[in-house]
């Protein structure tokens, strides 16, 4: 799984929207799209302890990304179903396409860990994984070991990559960008929030997810490499050992699920990314005629003639 990368990619998507969608895609939709897969699946992955009993998945990796389990929440098929639901409910392309883009970003970046995602679900329940780093959520290790392994592997590099992608598009974090591109795409939500919070607070709310991503990356990495004193194979270490080799770190057991050969994962992932981009682009124009605003305009014209 990816950690802060999921927070950063929201802003990366927002900053690199196709030209015709600039200022028209809901930032909240991108956020919820990116957030939904883990919101549905992650809580039970770590579980919780109550009265000395652990409640949670017995095989976290299978629950998180496999089938049977909640692995379908990390599939493009599920994202498409939710998008259809949003469109049927609201007829709002800013939310439908925004959700699709955020969701796709999450599902495709998660092919990097050792269990990956079921990209072709429901046609195939095989997982697609690049095995870039080890998936380390276990019942015994919980969130701490998972974080330590992630921030000791190429997962850390993944977070940094997305962090610098956003910094390279730093304008996405400016007040001007927020005013001219983000607010116009979601005027009702922002003005509703504006009843209680002034502009400075609204801007902080918009930047908040990036802030959270950056701070959690620093905090977990600092804890893993400076504060923690793990005992690995009977040897006490000052911080978890960093291992930037493929499928690292070496000191954690790498779990896998039935999967396709890793060699075809990257090209297929890129093809799927292109396909989603193409579908979003194609649907964008067609959705205009069916959007709530277009229906409202048609009603106005009908009433005035």
């Amino acid at each position: 799984m990816s950690w802060a990368a999921h927070q950063f990619e929201i802003y990366a998507v927002e900053a690199h929207l196709p030209k015709k969608m600039v200022g028209k895609i809901s930032w909240f939709a991108i956020f919820f799209g990116d957030f939904t897969p883990d919101f549905l699946a992650k809580f039970w992955v770590y579980g919780f302890n109550l009265n000395g009993h652990h409640y949670g998945a017995t095989k976290p990796y299978e629950w998180h990304r496999g089938w049977p389990g909640m692995g379908f929440a990390h599939t493009l098929f599920f994202g498409a179903i939710v998008c259809l639901g949003i469109w049927a409910w609201k007829h709002n392309r800013a939310w439908t396409i925004g959700f699709l883009l955020g969701f796709t970003a999450h599902v495709l970046t998660d092919v990097n860990d050792s269990i990956g995602t079921m990209l072709l679900f429901p046609f195939s329940t095989l997982n697609w994984s690049l095995h870039t780093w080890a998936y380390a959520a276990t019942v015994k290790g919980g969130k701490y070991l998972d974080a330590a392994a992630y921030y000791s592997s190429l997962g850390f590099a993944m977070d940094l990559f997305w962090f610098f992608v956003v910094l390279g598009s730093w304008r996405v974090l400016t007040r001007e960008f927020w005013r001219t591109r983000v607010v116009p795409a979601d005027p009702h939500v922002w003005s509703w929030l504006g009843q209680w919070i002034d502009e400075r607070g609204l801007l902080a709310l918009y930047r908040g997810v990036f802030f959270y991503g950056a701070c959690r990356m620093v905090a977990w990495a600092t804890w893993a490499h400076v504060v923690a004193r793990p005992v690995i194979n009977g040897v006490k270490h000052n911080g978890y050992p960093l291992d930037l080799s493929w499928t690292g770190p070496w000191w954690v057991q790498r779990v896998t699920l039935p999967h396709v050969t890793p060699w075809i994962v990257l090209p297929v992932t890129l093809v799927l990314l292109g396909a989603v981009y193409f579908v979003a682009n194609t649907l964008w124009e067609r959705m205009e005629s069916g959007s709530t605003k277009a229906i409202a305009w048609r009603n106005v014209r009908r009433n005035t003639t």
């Binding site: 927070q7 200022g23 028209k24 809901s26 957030f35 709002n92 392309r93 800013a94 969130k143 701490y144 001007e176 005013r179 001219t180 607010v183 116009p184 795409a185 979601d186 005027p187 922002w190 003005s191 504006g194 009843q195 209680w196 919070i197 002034d198 502009e199 400075r200 607070g201 609204l202 902080a204 709310l205 930047r207 908040g208 997810v209 802030f211 959270y212 950056a214 701070c215 959690r216 620093v218 905090a219 977990w220 600092t222 804890w223 504060v227 959007s291 605003k293």
Partner: protein
Amino acid sequence: MSEPTRPMPPPAPGTPSKYVDFLLYASAAVTYTTLSIYNKWLLDWIVGPLWLVAWVWGLPALVKLVRRQPVRPRRDPFEARD
């Protein structure tokens, strides 16, 4: 969804400077990161963004409250100020 973009309004009299904003953001990041290294429950997707809002908006609002100045925003925060 697609509304014409509005020109940037001039800052209202008494609006804190960018320097103050920078200090607020920087102090929010330092406090949140430092505290969360030892209190992992803070590393939560709700707490994180709210921490920033509380620090950047809540603290100045608190100062305004103490000074008995109005805290609630104008009806339309995007309306050009006069």
